[in-house]
């Protein structure tokens, strides 16, 4: 699966939403999903998926960080000394994450308290650094920005999907609205624990592979 290296863009005047650019956003949603195909960013997928609202806001934060980290690194790519490129990437990511967390504290104090440490932990999310290394260092700013958005969304939909099942069967509620917590089936202890997400992600991968022939390894 090396679609991203092949998409380096040569033409001078390409429409902003050309086929190629559209694929940068749509690819990570299915064929090249960062969680279910590349199996990156699993750590936060296990941790913040106990409630749909938290997962959604976490996803938004990650989309913002991947998109703008990709954009910044891509704009600087010709000036970044190769020997310290990882340090530069980390500084960019850490700066963006600090910005996100400060803005959250000012604009949505309650949410930032609920997400607590996990906003800071976006810094260690392997998807972001993976995209910077694999894509932004070799592509122009606009495609990099789209790639960041695509990967952020690809991460986000899995996160919300896992959170949907965990909140529904673990707490008997959805989006914080309690409607089924009186039935034991919907207050399953294991769904509350992070272990549940590893099973759920496993099942997601299984379902995705059985429907998407591109993902089946023929060799």
């Amino acid at each position: 699966m090396s679609t991203e290296t092949a998409t380096a863009i040569q033409q001078k005047s390409e429409p902003l939403f050309s086929k190629k650019n559209q694929r940068l956003v749509s690819d990570p949603l299915n064929d090249n999903n960062p969680i279910t195909v590349q199996v990156l960013g699993i750590c936060s997928a296990l941790a913040v998926t106990s409630q749909v609202v938290n997962a959604g806001i976490m996803a938004l934060c990650v989309i913002f960080v991947t998109a703008f980290a990709n954009l910044t690194i891509s704009m600087l790519r010709n000036y970044i000394p190769n020997r310290i490129r990882m340090i530069v990437q980390l500084v960019v990511i850490a700066t963006l994450v600090t910005l996100v967390s400060e803005v959250l504290k000012a604009a949505a104090y309650d949410v930032s308290k609920q997400l607590s440490v996990f906003v800071g932990l976006i810094i260690t999310n392997c998807i972001i650094m993976g995209r910077l290394e694999a894509f932004a260092m070799a592509n122009k700013p606009w495609p990099s920005f789209l790639d960041g958005i695509g990967n952020g969304i690809g991460y986000g939909i899995i996160l919300i999907g896992v959170a949907f099942f965990r909140e529904l069967f673990g707490a008997g509620s959805l989006m914080g609205i309690d409607f089924a917590s009186q039935w034991p089936l919907f207050t399953n202890g294991i769904m509350v624990l992070p272990i549940a997400s590893i099973f759920l992600i496993g099942i997601f991968i299984w379902i995705q592979r059985s429907f998407n022939p591109k993902l089946v390894d023929i060799s």
């Binding site: 941790a47 106990s50 010709n78 190769n82 310290i84 530069v88 000012a106 609920q114 509350v192």
Partner: protein
């Protein structure tokens, strides 16, 4: 491009300028947002104090505890008090601004302990005491409001810094804190007796007013809640006795 991006001098200059740009950007944003953030924090603290004494269903919390309501209600109905370990008031200190964490680390005789007195519309007084302790991962805190017999719980509200969402973090939910209402802290002999039990569905919790159900999957956080309540409420007993004997 003829720029040699791998020379040592280039790398040094690049790093230096990057650090300066990033430092400037971050401090610019941090100082710009600081007034909003500290205002948020102040309202949040007042809200937590009020939440312990004004019971509101979780679903209605957002519409009831608006910023204006919190500030209004707090300024009109809450009287702040700072006492020492013998229960005597200390003048010239504001309870709201005391750093509770620091105070409870000091030896007992140097300690300044905040108390918030809530006067409700019917002329009844409730005494609110701050709680602070360790959960599983990080600090947990809360406020507990007592009726004027200084043992019956009027209400409680908890908060946490880094407990796991869905597990330990559930202590900040109304679903958990409403179980405290009407329970009793001190036994007939005046000793601390109250306890949050392990898990849910405990027979003991139904039968006795000293015990309530805990949370499944959050036993270590609940242990923290128990320790925190035991330690801090015991330290306040002299003050509680003085209130009881004066009323």
């Amino acid at each position: 491009m003829s720029l040699n991006t791998n020379s040592n001098s280039y790398i040094t200059i690049f790093l230096l300028s990057m650090v300066i740009v990033v430092a400037f950007l971050l401090s610019f944003v941090a100082t710009g947002l600081q007034p909003i953030i500290s205002k948020n924090e102040e309202v949040d603290k007042k809200k937590k104090i009020l939440k312990s004494v004004v019971f509101v269903e979780e679903s209605r919390e957002k519409e009831v505890f608006t910023q204006d309501f919190v500030i209004d209600e707090y300024n009109n109905k809450i009287k702040e008090l700072v006492v020492n370990y013998q229960g005597d008031p200390i003048e010239g200190k504001t309870a709201f601004e005391l750093d509770v964490k620091k105070e409870f680390r000091k030896p007992l005789d140097e300690r300044q302990m905040p108390v918030f007195v809530y006067n409700d519309d019917g002329g009844k007084k409730y005494y609110i005491v701050p709680l602070i302790g360790m959960g599983l991962w990080d600090e947990i805190s809360g406020y507990i409001a007592l009726e004027d017999d200084m043992s019956t719980i009027k209400g409680a509200a908890f908060d946490h810094k880094g407990e796991t969402p869905g597990l330990g973090a559930e202590i900040s939910k109304t679903k958990f804190s409403e179980r405290f209402i009407g329970e009793e802290i001190f036994g007939e002999d005046g000793e601390y007796q109250f306890q949050v039990l392990k898990g849910t569905g405990n027979l003991k919790a139904e039968q006795s007013t000293y015990y309530i159900d805990g949370l499944s999957g959050a036993t270590l956080t609940i242990d923290g809640v128990n320790n925190m309540m035991n330690e801090i409420l015991t330290d306040y007993t002299t003050f509680f006795d003085k209130v009881k004997s004066s009323s």
